[in-house]
Symmetry: C2
Amino acid sequence: MKKDDQSEKTLSRRNFLKTTGGVAATAAAMVGGLNLLPAKAEAAGYALPKKWDDTYDVVVIGSGFAGLAAAIEAKNAGASVLVIDKMVLHGGNSIINGGDFCAPGTKLQQENGVQDSAELMLKDMLRAGAYLNHPDLAKMVAYNAKGALEWTESYIGAKYAKLNFHGGHSVKRAHGTINSSGSELVNKELAKAKEIGVKIQLRTKLVKFLSNKDGRIVGIEVRKDYKFPDDNSGKPAFIKAKKAVVLSSGGFSRDIKLRQIHDPRLTDRFESTNQPGATGEALLAACIAGAMDVQMDWIQLGPWTSPDEKGFGYVPLFCERLVGYGPMINPKTGKRFFKETGNRKERADAIILIGDPVIIMGDSYAVNKQIFPMALQKGVEAGAIKKFDTLEAVAKEYNIPVDVFLKEIERWNSYVEKKKDDDFDCMIFKDAQPTVVGPFYAARLWPKVHHTMGGLNINTDAQVIGFDFKPVKGLYAAGEVTGGVHGAVRLGGVAMADCIVFGRVAGTNAAKEKPWG
Amino acid sequence: MKKDDQSEKTLSRRNFLKTTGGVAATAAAMVGGLNLLPAKAEAAGYALPKKWDDTYDVVVIGSGFAGLAAAIEAKNAGASVLVIDKMVLHGGNSIINGGDFCAPGTKLQQENGVQDSAELMLKDMLRAGAYLNHPDLAKMVAYNAKGALEWTESYIGAKYAKLNFHGGHSVKRAHGTINSSGSELVNKELAKAKEIGVKIQLRTKLVKFLSNKDGRIVGIEVRKDYKFPDDNSGKPAFIKAKKAVVLSSGGFSRDIKLRQIHDPRLTDRFESTNQPGATGEALLAACIAGAMDVQMDWIQLGPWTSPDEKGFGYVPLFCERLVGYGPMINPKTGKRFFKETGNRKERADAIILIGDPVIIMGDSYAVNKQIFPMALQKGVEAGAIKKFDTLEAVAKEYNIPVDVFLKEIERWNSYVEKKKDDDFDCMIFKDAQPTVVGPFYAARLWPKVHHTMGGLNINTDAQVIGFDFKPVKGLYAAGEVTGGVHGAVRLGGVAMADCIVFGRVAGTNAAKEKPWG
């Protein structure tokens, strides 16, 4: 829009403003010349565009598990729905997710003889979350995960093939999709959304939330035809949300600037397992509009990733099946430095303190027994896992002081023999054997940012809560952009449950809002 | 102000607004009818009062260590300065603080033969902070603490008598005031501030930050003659800050609603060692005005406090000198439950998990050897520490299953004898003796909220940083209301250094701002 396109109203505003020294506010909110509008009204910019480029009942930001679930529920509740996504491809992180959906008390668990309950899943989530979880939010996920899983099967058509285990859960409750990827679910959600008439608009980036004089979110400013990551690309447009906006834009694992504010260690030396678009500008736009952020400093690192391959890669599979069977070595000292079976956070913190990549290694016995042949082969092909005939060759490759290293391996082997680690209390599994049989395999480890537990404060209705403790009217949120569900640590497989449970709640409630205009 | 007092300008605004549908913004910020003001401008409410009740160059919120240091520096730099405090008494938590000021490389350290450096203090702060500290902020404190301490001696006239040790520091570097209280410093700061002409106004509560059309903070709305905690008490007033506002309103340890959002465990079952006014509304007002909050979920609990006395009390002195000499017992089981010499966070977390108060106890040998007679006597007088002739009497008082308890004491004694705790790896000091000599002393322990590490994001100039990563113009902050200096854990004695270092920086820079009008 050019300036000379502006309406008479706008021009008359200008004239007015000239005479009043550039200051104005709504009459209703003026007391003694002071603007006493609710803060959020002001925060979001309560001057509305004179022309909206598009109008929908519900506008959803983000096309992952949560956003599409919200869109489908809102549409089925009778709302017209637009889903925007800034990337050229739908699905965000959901499409590269491992496809494990945790739910308790399911048919697949029964078939596998697994006793489970929502109560037990909640207990596991709270313990892992160091009890920082908002208990009502965690409870929503645990108690509605089974229904959410069944909805993805019976209504969306997603298929699950097997039951998997993730550390921190009391039982096997991760329902693995048939292709071991979240794409199975998110692609079928997309198909369903399109089938029922949800409009999907990619390459459309949120710039700002817009609210009316009552502080209600009424729409968004976007850039259409946006080309990630160029913030000058695309053209501004204004989308009216007659009922509500649902924010489901994901986490900020790839947002170096933002994550360093909350955890200053996480400089650009840390890659991420996430898709490139996992940045925090939509979350921050919500804060500028008055939304309260919580637990932003709980940023999960994978300690099992390699600096020698991009993204998630193959080394995590290598590393996680080797701990308890082979040692982790600090190449600088030639010695072990931490309990190999410690949790994600403990191990990542220990590696970061060392300041450079460390080594995980195993001998032929351990590797052949533990590692999927395909993962090993792919990792070796990618150059991220290396094969050596001798321990001396391992030392040479990684510049490890060889004498200390050989003694350390002897020491490790003595612990393996007695099944007790006197140095770091690593769990050594019953069938572990001393590291003696060549060839040996090793990989470098350096943590990558994997998940951001913190985000917007929501209630069990998926309403976003503001710095004034009240809901930001017309704004809902679901999925990784929210905080509080997982507390300090998200357990594997709970993200899918979180996204589907709260996505559905957000969409259902968004559609119920009374239209503002 | 009544409505009919409103100026012609305001009335003309009203007429205008009627014709334009109740929507307006500044001309400069209008593009295509949309308000594109910086978010902070909108957030703080850019409509200014037509009449200011008071005008100062610099307005400081809070009269603790940081606020008064800021006020003094601003005044000495030529600014007119007002300090407001919502309470009836100046000094906030500073006046009940223990009076330990950590600084490295000082005269008192030299006299005591203590080798120390700013580098070492920084290292200690970062390690304790789990490296979540903003390194540049922590460095500012460590490297300027000595100068800050000397300023409080030479210019303010505060007196320090002895060098104390706090856990987590590598050396003795806490300079204890002559009366073992922060009142020695904060009262002398107040006297100096008054002497040089700083205006102090108590019972004046911040309601809202006000900013102009450029997003610059230009003043505050307050309630004068406010009577804590009645939010309807007092009368609204508008204070113009020609140069800047310095926010030094302290932490939110007493703000149950706010702290539960960030750490949901901290319900009203948890008392606080803080003064009653340690609430978060000023911090939240800054967030509504666009300031970014960081690390809000790092809330420090004292694991050494008693539910049987108010505030800090005497039990912390009893408990902290007894750990490593006597056991902590869970009365429900009759057994020990955690390493007695674990850090504050570990122990508090363990007690919270149990869900009810636990017991710390010692025999006559341990108590007489370790505890200041005065602290013991006062604690017994207060009823918070109890004296028993036999172990059976201890069990009876606290409803401990007596057989298990007696066996557990035997077990503890066996560890003390061999100086190694097989159960929890408690440090058992060389001179510890088995718990056998009556009378026995015991106290109940239940954590109290002690310090909030999180708060507003600032830079090394004490400028507050917004959700857009840019400074909120005209707004500075210092002390416990800020986040990032301490990271996950604040070490004992570093709060005073933090407050004086950043208070002085904030005041100096506030006075340098170009007046906006």
